[in-house]
């Protein structure tokens, strides 16, 4: 049922001496909203640019809609929407003229939707882009990427300059666009709570590869934090499998584990004569654990 809208296979990319992507694999099945996370410089933007044919990988294969990303046909390009971190150029244009100009390149441009969104987000068509705030430019950039109903929508930090109201509006747009099961989205953001809301899957990249991927609720059930309070001094290591990270201080310990059943965790209580509690993690916690 689910074919892949985009596929990255063993992608490598380096800039001078710095290797950014080191054999990265990522498939984007139809109907998914991928929440892409990674530390600054982890290679999120590079990954996106390789996927969209804006950067040529040194090695590996990138395909979109089954075509080679570096040689996309016009038809394939028409089905991509991209909101980059910063919108290049066009500063001298007025908002309305800008959208009409961009629209002239697209067969499926929905001009009415573009102007309705502009109105809803408080941007007047006659405003010159050079006079706009960062947030307003970001809104315009989002409108530009949405209204030709693309099959692949990619947002690179789209909400950084949006006010909270516009951000929630934007999230609602994402949810509604995501109801079309033929469409896929990649949403790159540091705002974990936004990804918790709208992403169907989380992808965390680290050291040039995908370090963790999965449905958020599955990740939350797999990765747990254990708090141990014993009545004697604890000696590391704590006798439990699959430790991601552990801190032992005197008679207390905090241990993060992956894929350990609750019963096994609770059995630590007897082994260490300790009180054991299991804590579930939110996405920000999981991100921190992966990047320790």
């Amino acid at each position: 049922m689910s074919h892949n809208i985009a596929e990255l296979t063993n992608i490598r990319k380096r800039f001078n001496v710095r290797s950014v992507l080191m054999g990265l694999n990522l498939n984007v099945p139809a109907g998914t909203v991928l929440g892409l996370m990674g530390r600054n410089g982890a290679g999120k933007s590079t990954l996106i640019k390789c996927m969209l044919g804006l950067l040529k990988p040194d090695a590996g294969k990138a395909t979109v809609f089954g075509e080679d990303a570096w040689n996309l046909s016009m038809a394939a390009k028409q089905r991509i929407g991209f909101v980059p971190q910063t919108m290049p150029g066009f500063r001298w244009m007025k908002a309305g003229t800008f959208l009409d100009y961009i629209g002239s390149y697209y067969q499926r441009w929905n001009r009415e939707k573009a102007f309705t969104m502009m109105k809803e987000w408080g941007i007047s068509a006659g405003m010159r882009i050079s006079r706009m705030s960062e947030g307003e430019i970001q809104k315009l950039s989002i409108i530009r990427a949405l209204v030709h109903e693309p099959g692949l929508l990619v947002f690179d930090e789209p909400v950084a300059s949006l006010d909270p109201l516009a951000r929630r509006d934007f999230l609602r747009q994402i949810v509604e666009l995501g109801m079309d099961e033929t469409r896929s989205m990649i949403f790159c953001s540091h705002i974990a709570s936004d990804l918790e809301r709208v992403a169907s899957e989380i992808v965390i990249i680290k050291d040039g590869v995908v370090a963790l991927r999965g449905e958020l609720s599955t990740l939350q059930e797999r990765i747990r934090r254990i708090r141990i309070q014993s009545n004697r001094i604890l000696c590391p290591p704590i006798p439990v499998r699959n430790i991601i990270h552990s801190v032992v201080e005197g008679s207390t310990a905090e241990v993060t584990v992956e894929d350990v059943p609750d019963e096994e965790i609770m059995s630590l209580g007897e082994k260490l004569s300790a009180r054991v509690t299991i804590e579930s993690l939110n996405l920000e916690d999981i991100f921190m654990e992966v990047n320790r």
């Binding site: 949810v175 709570s193 918790e196 809301r197 993690l281 939110n282």
Partner: protein
Amino acid sequence: MADDLRTLLFEIKPSSGIPIYRQIIEQVRRLVASGALRAGEELPSIRQAASHYEINPMTISKAYSLLEKEGVVEHVRGGGMRVASLHSAARTPRKRMDLLRPALREVSTQANQLGLSRTEVLEALSAYLEENDEP
């Protein structure tokens, strides 16, 4: 009007650490057990709930399908979900107790952490129970 009420049912906290689908399941169970949601009442559709709470539709459909498996809700012709009529009959004391268990476990953990004795905790709990018994 009714629509507005139904979409305001849930309280979603994305970063609480509890998976969102589990938050929905627990809230529906509790609303049904307390009678706030009655048999035959419809839940917000997946689309409605997704755009109202700005959460991925798959999260809601996961919650609904698990609730359906439990027999708490059932499909309505036309695609919606409503509180199952069977569920009111199945509201045995045991099931109601199951709903209370997570809260009890939490109390016992905290009591433990605070180093309170069993007698102290039970005494405090029965005081609360008595308080609620009084009309």
